[in-house]
C-alpha cells in the first residue's frame, strides 16, 4: 500500500499538481461570473497543461537540451526538447487567445457597462423584451 502510494501519488507529484491546477482553471472558466476571472482561469488552465508537458519531457538527472557534439560524446543525458518547442507554440496561441478575449471584454464593457456575465445577459434580455 505504502509503496503504491509512493509510486502513484508521490513520485508523480507534478502530474497531480498539474491536474489540480487544471481543475482550478476549469472551475474559474465555468463557474466565475466575472469575465476577467474567466480569462484568468483560462490562463491557469493553459499553464497547467504546459506544466504537464514539461513534466513529460523531464528526465531525472538530465540537463538542458543545449548540447554540443562533445557533450553527447561524454554521455550527457539531456531532456527531450520537442515538448519545449510545442509549448512555445502553445504559449503563443495562449497569449493570442487572451488578447482576443480581453478585446472582447473591453468592447462588452463599453456596450453594457459591466463585465459580469449574468448582468450582461439580463441587460440583453431587457433590450430584447
Amino acid at each position: 500500500m505504502m509503496e503504491w502510494l509512493i509510486e502513484e501519488l508521490f513520485a508523480k507529484y507534478n502530474y497531480w499538481i498539474s491536474i489540480v491546477l487544471m481543475l482550478i482553471g476549469f472551475y474559474a472558466m465555468i463557474a466565475k461570473d466575472n469575465l476577467i476571472k474567466k480569462i484568468i482561469g483560462l490562463n491557469i488552465f493553459q499553464t497547467a497543461i504546459f506544466l504537464f508537458y514539461i513534466s513529460l519531457g523531464d528526465i531525472t538527472g538530465g540537463t538542458e537540451p543545449i548540447v554540443s557534439e562533445e557533450m553527447i560524446a561524454q554521455g550527457y543525458v539531456y531532456v527531450n526538447p520537442l515538448p519545449h518547442v510545442l509549448i512555445l507554440t502553445a504559449i503563443v496561441v495562449g497569449v493570442a487567445t487572451t488578447a482576443v478575449a480581453l478585446a472582447l471584454v473591453i468592447l462588452m464593457y463599453e456596450e453594457y457597462g459591466t463585465i459580469e456575465e449574468s448582468e450582461i445577459i439580463e441587460l440583453e434580455r431587457e433590450r430584447g423584451a
Partner: protein
C-alpha cells in the same frame, strides 16, 4: 531537479492559483496571475526547460499581465458579488 524545492514551489503555485481566482480585487488577481506565471517559470527552469521558462517569464508574466492590466484600465477593478 531538487525535489524539495520543486514541491514547495508547486504548492505555492497551487495556493496562488486558488487565491487568484477567489480574490475580488481583479488587480490583485492579475498580479497573482503574474506571480503564478513567474513561479511556474521557475519550476520549469528547475525542470531543465530553460527555453520554455524564459518564454513563460516574458509572455505569461510579462505580456499577458500587461494586457490584463491594460484591459482592467478600461473596465472595472472590482468584481461584484
Amino acid at each position: 531537479m531538487i525535489f524539495e524545492l520543486d514541491l514547495v514551489l508547486l504548492f505555492l503555485v497551487v495556493i496562488i492559483a486558488i487565491v487568484a481566482i477567489t480574490t475580488r480585487d481583479l488587480l490583485s488577481a492579475i498580479m497573482l496571475l503574474c506571480a503564478y506565471s513567474f513561479l511556474m517559470a521557475v519550476v520549469w527552469v528547475e525542470m531543465h526547460s530553460v527555453d520554455v521558462a524564459f518564454t513563460e517569464a516574458a509572455v505569461g508574466a510579462g505580456a499577458t499581465t500587461a494586457f490584463l492590466i491594460a484591459a482592467l484600465s478600461r473596465t472595472k477593478r472590482w468584481e461584484k458579488k
